[in-house]
Symmetry: none
Subunit: 347 residues, 3 copies
């Protein structure tokens, strides 16, 4: 049976029903569940596109996720529709834009809940340290291509600039006071298993786990940030947005990853949590631990009608915490200003 | 944002990457994984359609799956595309036709692997015993409607026939009496899959499943013990303690393990369950089954306030059961004495 | 505590939120979930420690868990904190002590729910039958070391005793002969949990699990059929087709389902397996067990190039089995004829 060529239209849609495990106890779907679906869609479309020409077989590895807002909460029983489209290609990278809709199949209501932009880099299956060339896509207009190029240059600059922020989370001996950073900070440890890896291939009949575990990592980051937020405000909390995330180094099967989160800033109705991911190869001990990812998550607190609640202010201790708070405030004000500009532009 | 009305075109497509857990040890995706995806697609489209008119909210419950052939095997790393379409509606039922394609996103190959026909009945959410009316769909021709009606009549006839045949089945020649050992004893089989294994390593580029599955085994042992306890006392039960467990032999990926539990002893407020784990290497037949682990679990029964409830005494049949009960009693008294000593020592 | 040097202080803490799937229907976390987390912590710390010196890479394999008490029940939504510490090392084994705390992140309440002691043995990754040497830990006092040594000697003695006792166990009074129906027949039990249910809804703010679990049931049916087929022919097997399946009665959350399979027919290159699903409402005892679903699965056996292999013929015992074989043959011939007709019609 012949099926029309998928490469011709570089887009994909994945959808599934949200289950109890995808959500917290009051039924709000975790932001991490959605981030994981977004990454799966991006990985499929990116890998498919980069293999559409002859040459080395490859997989698309996630390099960066742009800042993402969660516009509405999603609930258990709703269907999440994730559609992804390739919007720009440079010589060695692919930009994927993803939209997420929630559909209540009982009432028929549909809402746009997320928009995300992801950057992928194709790694050869023969040699995972080799980056291969990306087949170019066609643009509907020169303006479209030009706008893509600008986005590409901007993210490249930011990616190079991102330094490995070295915040070490120190677990305190004495019980910290409520509303301090130390009180809510949390970390979890996860042993990377086979089912964590997104994409696999058979090479010469051998199963070859070729993909890093970016989707799972983002889900765990959201889980830790959520625990920090819940500890701070003791209410039902949901992910409001995620800052740009850069994936500097691969995380492999057999690693133990430590995901740590600490609150950096609170506004009247939001909390910013900084999340670190450290990977430890465990068996290959000589390689040592390394910082794999860092990001900022913003959470809001909701009442029973899913309306935002005031957030208790963060109690700061010491200069370091004060400095991080100021930086968080700057990010908060910048994003607020950006949202206003976007709104005005749309009107 | 406005989204085009899905009810107009009653079709859906779901897709996801096949993972190691979806497949057997040589990489063939289980038929059951595909059946589950087919049912999810059918349930989404059926529920969506039956709620497309005003009236009672409902969910589509699966009533029948027609004979289904698996045309080609699917593999780990391929993307399964499941598309579903409503092809006939009677007054109270919906026929959904589903196609499954496998796509190798690296080579671009696509194959039709399954075709299935499912029948759903909409049940009211207010009253799950009430079947509601199905909104009619439009047919492209009277012949199409006529063919659908024929399929509907044929499956209805077959369903009524099977129902009668099933009614005759006698569950067990002689059902064991409540509160006996035979009444509550239970066993489960589990096929050891990739995600059951705790730790893995790559040795010379080969995936090497190096860790036994002790954690998973203990979880299954507790599951079986819990079912035995619940069958005995028909209340909410929780694990109170586990005896020392020794792991003498490794359980490997691809084994089938049988976990069996039987009640050995009851005190006023506790039940002791003996659990056996037998491993069967399945493919390496010459090795044969072996007993891998045994242990004793103690359960208590709780009321709604989580307070211990009295446990119905175990009815013993035969000398063997009497002997095991006495041994259980000895363990019970010994642990009780030990707990007392520990308490006194702490004071 | 400093994150950087993990090997220096052989301790670890893992934590995660308890989810609906970790618990029974009234919200008590299964003892098995906690045992599995305990083992994960033990395995990580044991493996890390045993790889902290130069020499063979290894993994820590669980050899024994000491008697464990569950002091308080844990609930969905609480965070389980599992901390593990190496407390003794002999030449070839590691003692790990684990504490489990439950934390209610909303009220801030913390409770010690478990204490466990595990013994690990490091197995070489190059040769899993080789036990490697354990790097010694430092003790704070000679008394501490002495106490550890006593625990080591005590568990060693008990392990040897159990091993001898287990060796005596006779697996089955009379093992059925290969290729008979009795030889390959299998059954599993499954406790229907929240994430098994496909669709849910919120009715008056209450999560209302409204959908039956047809998809999960079919997956389990295929799993049992696959185990029967693999036990019969000891090769790689795949689902070739499934007969029509009728769902007469709903299976609800909290039910235990028993899925049983037996081989009914073999042709040269296929096996037919009959699968039964029985549901037991467990707590609502008055309702009793009922047969929920039956179906026929056809499997084929594949070689390494995914080509069909001959199937060993089924050895029949008694009239019943003979009768079922004839019925299976009739279904086989009918389907074969139908496939031929379909092919001709398409030409």
């Amino acid at each position: 049976m012949s099926i029309s060529n998928a490469q011709a239209t570089p887009s994909i849609q994945i959808c599934r029903i949200m289950r109890p495990d995808d959500a917290n106890i009051v039924g709000n779907v975790h932001g991490g569940t959605i981030l994981k679906m977004i990454e799966e869609a991006g990985c499929i479309i990116g890998t498919r596109h980069c293999n559409s020409q002859t040459g080395d077989r490859c997989v698309a590895a996630l390099a960066r996720v742009e800042r993402t807002d969660f516009l509405y909460p999603m609930f258990i029983g709703e269907v999440a529709h994730v559609s992804a489209e390739i919007t720009y290609t440079s010589k060695n990278s692919v930009e994927v834009q993803v939209n997420v809709l929630s559909e209540n199949i009982v009432t028929g209501t549909k809402k746009l809940t997320n928009k995300a932009t992801l950057w992928y880099v194709p790694l050869s299956l023969q040699n995972v340290d080799k980056i291969i060339e990306v087949p170019p896509i066609e643009y509907s207009s020169p303006e479209q291509e030009e706008a893509g190029k600008k986005r590409y240059e901007a993210q490249k600059l930011e990616r190079t600039e991102t330094k490995e922020r070295n915040g070490e989370i120190i677990m305190s001996v004495s019980l910290p006071e409520p509303y301090t950073v130390a009180f809510s900070q949390s970390s979890l440890i996860h042993l990377v298993g086979p089912s964590d890896c997104t994409l696999h291939g058979f090479v010469h009949g051998e199963l070859h786990s070729s993909q890093s575990m970016s989707g799972v990592t983002m889900k765990l980051m959201d889980e830790v940030a959520g625990i920090v937020a819940a500890r701070h405000c003791k209410t039902n909390i949901v992910t409001a947005s995620v800052d740009a995330i850069n994936f500097h180094r691969k995380i492999k099967k057999g690693c133990v990853i430590t995901v740590s989160g600490r609150m950096t800033f609170t506004s009247n109705k939001s909390m910013e949590i900084e999340v670190f991911v450290d990977a430890d190869p465990l068996v290959e001990a000589e390689k040592g631990k390394y910082r794999a990812v860092t990001a900022f998550f913003t959470y809001i607190s909701l009442d029973k009608e899913n309306k935002p609640l005031p957030v208790p202010p963060l109690k700061l201790e010491g200069e370091e915490e004060q400095k991080r708070f100021e930086e968080g405030k700057a990010r908060y004000l910048q994003n607020k200003a950006k949202r206003l500009t976007d709104k005005e532009r749309q009107q």
